[in-house]
């Protein structure tokens, strides 16, 4: 397996620019994905953005001493998401149920994506993409949850465009300051 697809590994400190057309296309892809998630179009997101080999990981962040070799997070330990296609599909099936009470009435979402850096990899069809995000959820009258973080994505270019094959999501919170995570990042 290519290193960029290994979920436990960070991207090397890459600086491998791609041609402006590819870069623009991937930025458009990220912004469209955010728009689908804002609209709670989860089924469409699953069917048009997600690769069959998806590994989608969002670890729990622990506060550790700087000299602790374990670091802030570790693959194989507690995570909010450590999903393959099966797990993502189960989550989407719940959203599709009318009795998903935490989503009925609907939550209002804003997925803001920034700091996008698109990099080439050793595989001409795989792209290593950094981005940062602000995820805002507001529901009922005044319940608001804001989560900031970074993502490390691998996109695969195929016949029908790009698909997400690996995503690492790192939020800046230790204790999650929200009662739930009824969203994707």
């Amino acid at each position: 397996m290519l290193d960029v697809l290994e979920i436990s590994k960070a991207f090397d400190d890459v600086d491998r620019a791609v041609d402006p057309g590819t870069e623009r296309a991937i930025e458009r892809w990220l912004h469209r994905e955010a728009r689908l998630l804002d609209g709670e179009r989860y089924q469409e997101w699953l069917e048009t953005c997600i690769d069959a080999d998806i590994h989608y990981w969002m670890p729990d962040m622990e506060t550790r001493r700087r000299d602790d070799p374990r670091g802030t997070y570790a693959y194989g330990e507690a995570a909010y998401f450590d999903d393959r296609l099966n797990e993502l599909s189960v989550r989407v099936r719940r959203y599709n149920e009318p009795s998903a009470w935490a989503d009925n009435p609907a939550t209002r979402h804003a997925h803001l994506i920034s700091n996008i850096e698109v990099n080439a990899t050793d595989d001409p069809d795989l792209f290593a993409v950094f981005s940062a995000f602000t995820n805002v959820r507001n529901r009922n009258e005044a319940d608001q949850d804001i989560i900031h973080g970074r993502r490390e994505d691998v996109l695969r270019r195929g016949a029908d465009g790009f698909r997400l094959v690996r995503r690492r999501v790192f939020i800046v919170q230790n204790i999650l300051l929200s009662k739930n995570l009824n969203t994707f990042f």
Binding site: A78, Y80, V90, R91, N96, S99, W101, A102, L176, K179
Partner: protein, 467 residues
């Protein structure tokens, strides 16, 4: 500094002996639980004075869950947790024992440990003035050596404040701030019969895997505690969407188990089960886990007997009074730390049998993440219920209205040969009534003799006393 006004003063020097608070008696709060009419006053969920009384009467006296032994296997391994709102360090000693201390420097009070967890530490150093403490809690030294030349400085008597008592039951470490509290074994009483469903169904014992997930929920701590003590009723409605997503159908207790299902309560601790073998485990979504629990259930009959062997993966839940809960079969263990009358910090762990194959442990880790973590398909729908059950009581008139805890009033089953107060059927408010009865005993009683011999004491014990 305080002259002669301080009792037990140190002859002009600070008296640094640990101070363990004394219990009081709050009969006016105790009466807010109306056992006669199966109703509870909403001030329990909103009133600041009641909350402060809870910290004194309950969280400063009861045995509270700290950690699983497996989280800190080696000398110097430590983690930070809470007892009530008190920040506590739990640390493995060189002799293998475990000690716990308030995470507060005796000098100016700053935290001496700023991290969640760590391994093989030699001690804790306060960032403020460099006071340094060993893993045994004793003051080892101070920065700058100023104190070395101060002949009045009595270093030997300065330690981090230890908990009053610490002990463990089959891997689970508990502590109390009350020197007068009965032993952990007496505090749990015959409730260990039910804890063993999860803690002793296999000869190798248990461990936590994968660390902890923490989250904040803006609810009173008692709503989730009572939910796990015996509210399977909510699952049908609250968790319909999660059940459909993972099982393809709603939550189904299965009518053929009606006769088997029961609720059990001892000293306010509660366990309810449907005895359907794998109902909870099925919701984790991995067939390999269901196979594993079927096999385990058969093998465990020798250790636990047939009733408890059927409970290992069954639709079921449990709370150890006041705020430690778990779900058999789904293997999520959790504490609802109070953070004011309207807020909790929830900490969630995953328990597995130490002897389980690695791929089974990994599936439990993922299964708990998928169901009972903040993004899980079941926990997702719990938080908002508890938040609004709490928040509506800001309404002055709203909070005058009683709450109904009357399901299964006539369902007592004293003839069933199981420890504790037994009620028929799992769809029942019985355990919740006894949870709040225990709450009111803690509010009323300033001594453990009364606390251990009240209405919530196991009836078998009362029968013995009467003979």
């Amino acid at each position: 500094m305080c002259g002669t006004a301080c009792s037990g003063g140190g002859q002009g020097r600070p008296n640094m002996k640990p101070v363990y608070p004394k219990a009081g008696s709050y009969p006016e709060f105790a009466r807010l639980v109306d056992r006669e009419n199966a109703q509870v006053d909403r001030r329990l969920f909103s009133d600041e004075a009641i909350y402060q009384a809870e910290l004194q009467q309950i969280f400063a006296r009861a045995w509270l869950f700290l950690a699983h032994e497996s989280q800190i296997p080696n000398a110097g391994d430590f983690l930070r947790t809470s007892m009530g709102e008190d920040d506590v360090i739990v640390v493995r000693q060189r002799d293998g024992s475990v000690r716990a201390f308030l995470n507060s420097c005796p000098h100016r009070g700053n935290r001496v440990c700023m991290v969640d967890k760590g391994a093989k530490s030699r001690g804790f150093i306060c960032n403020y003035h460099g006071w340094s403490f060993g893993i045994d809690g004793r003051l080892r030294g101070t920065d700058g050596k100023v104190y070395d030349t101060d002949t009045a400085f009595e270093k030997a008597q300065i330690t981090l404040t230890p908990v009053a008592q610490i002990d463990s039951y089959k891997g689970l470490i508990f502590a109390t701030f009350d020197l007068a509290a009965p032993s952990l074994a007496d505090f749990l009483g015959p409730f260990t019969f039910y804890l063993d469903v999860m803690l002793d169904n296999d000869e190798g014992g248990t461990e936590f895997v994968g660390g902890a997930i923490r989250s904040h929920i803006d609810c009173n701590w008692k709503f989730p505690a009572e939910n796990f003590v015996g509210d399977i009723l909510h699952a049908f409605w609250s968790h319909q969407s999660g059940a459909k997503a993972i099982l393809g159908g709603g939550v189904d207790l299965g009518s053929r188990y009606d006769e088997l299902a029961f609720q059990a309560s001892v000293y306010g601790h509660g366990f309810e089960t449907n005895l359907d073998k794998v109902g909870n485990t099925r919701t984790l979504g991995y067939p390999e886990l269901v196979d594993y629990v079927f096999d385990l259930s058969e093998k465990a009959e020798k250790r636990l007997g047939s009733i408890r062997a059927r409970a290992i993966g069954a639709i079921s839940s449990c709370t150890v009074f006041p705020n430690f809960s778990f779900l058999p079969g789904q293997n999520t263990f959790r504490v609802w730390h109070p953070r004011g009358p309207g807020k909790i910090e929830l900490v969630v762990w995953t328990l597995v049998n130490r002897n389980a194959p690695e791929h089974i442990k990994e599936l439990y880790r993922k299964g708990v993440m998928m169901t009972f973590s903040p993004g899980g398909i079941f926990e997702m729908d719990d938080g908002e219920n508890w938040e609004y059950s709490t928040r509506v009581n800001q309404g002055f008139v709203t909070r005058q209205q009683p709450l109904h805890y009357g399901l299964g009033i006539d369902s007592a089953d004293p003839d069933r040969e199981l420890p504790g107060h037994i009620h028929k059927g799992s769809l029942n408010d019985a355990n919740q009534r006894l949870f709040y009865t225990r709450w009111s005993e803690f509010m009323e009683s300033d001594n453990w003799t009364d606390l251990q011999n009240g209405v919530t004491a196991p009836p078998q014990k009362n029968a013995q006393a009467a003979e």
